[in-house]
Structure formats: C-alpha cells, structure tokens
Symmetry: C2
Subunit: 109 residues, 2 copies
C-alpha cells in the first residue's frame, strides 16, 4: 500500500524547508541523494535513533514535503526519493542539501 503524497506541483517550498530543518530528516535525504540508482530502501535500514512514533512523524514530514514516496509492504515500509520530479520543481535544492548535510553523519539525540 502506497502512502498518499502530494502532486509535486502542489508542494510548498516553505514546507520543504520545514522538513529539511530537522537534522535527522536532512541526514535521510542526504543518504537517499547519495544513491545515484535511486533504489527503494527499507525504512528500517536508516539509522534513526528515535522512538517509533517519531520515525513515523519524520517519514510523514518528508512525504508531505514531496521529497519521498513510501509504501507499506506488510513486512516493513519502503522509501524512495522523488528525485526527478523534485529536481524539476526545485532545481538544485537536493544537491545543496546533500552537500551541506553529508550522508553518513547521522545526528544523535
């Protein structure tokens, strides 16, 4: 089951910046940007040292900001970057974020 996401043209840049204001969400986005193949990833494969309800909140914030699609496969949830359409809508932003918040540096706390 795919979680609903907004059409990319309805995504608000303010909402994008609010989503990216959180260091854990930036780290996730940077990790997704770093994978040129844009492979689907198990949500559980991301280092997120927070409670389950907080993870759920973070994934929703990223979905609603148009950055990712997410689906529930029964045995877990999976996520994929909306790279092409996000890049078309907000050119250069993903690259800038990935440079400023390098992948592999997941903040703790």
């Amino acid at each position: 089951m795919a979680f609903p996401v907004p059409p990319i043209d309805e995504v608000d840049l303010g909402q994008v910046f609010r989503a990216l204001a959180d260091p854990l969400r930036r780290a996730v986005v940077a990790e997704l940007v770093a994978d040129d193949a844009d492979a689907e990833r198990a949500c559980a494969s991301f280092a997120m040292p927070v409670a389950k309800s907080t993870k759920t909140h973070h994934w929703r914030a990223l979905r609603e900001a148009g950055l990712i699609v997410q689906r529930d496969a029964g045995n877990g949830t999976f996520v994929r970057l909306r790279r092409a359409e996000f890049e078309r809508r907000f050119p250069g932003l993903l690259g800038t974020v990935a440079r400023l918040s390098p992948a592999g540096r997941v903040p703790h706390g």
Copy 2:
C-alpha cells in the same frame, strides 16, 4: 547600534532552514542576494505587507539564522547580507534560495 548576531560558526543549519521556510523572509533574502554590491538597505525599503511587530520578528529570525546584520541608526533600521561568511559556512545555499524564490515576487498575506 548594531543588533547582536551569532558568530557564523555557531549558526545551525536547522535554524537557517526554519528562517527560510517563510516566504516573506525568503523574498527578502532573495532581494539581498540579487544585489551583488551587498549594499546596506533600509529595512523600510522592503515590501513587507505585515504588521510592524511581525516585521520585527522576521528581521530577528534572519539575524539569528546568521543571514543578515542589522543596525538601528535612530532614523530607521538598516540591514546587510552576511554574504561572504554565510557562503563560506553554507556554500551554495544563498544562490539556491535566490533561484527558487526569485526577488521581486513578494508574497502577500
């Protein structure tokens, strides 16, 4: 009198993104970025269709996020982009914001 601003190395990227989440603040930043001369500008010279207290809040958010310096000259307040040091700390971000939120399109409401 210059308002206090954080040393650029103490500025948090999350705070920068929160500052940039507001369309009026993005418009101001885009307008400042568009002036290659980085001239000081009267705060009153920006189109900000909001209450005075809200303007004060917006300027403070931009100052605390390390984006601007501001001073009170008695006959008004003046503002300048911290372009060089901000660019050194967060390379590429000012340019990306200016491209995504072009100057001259001040949002109303």
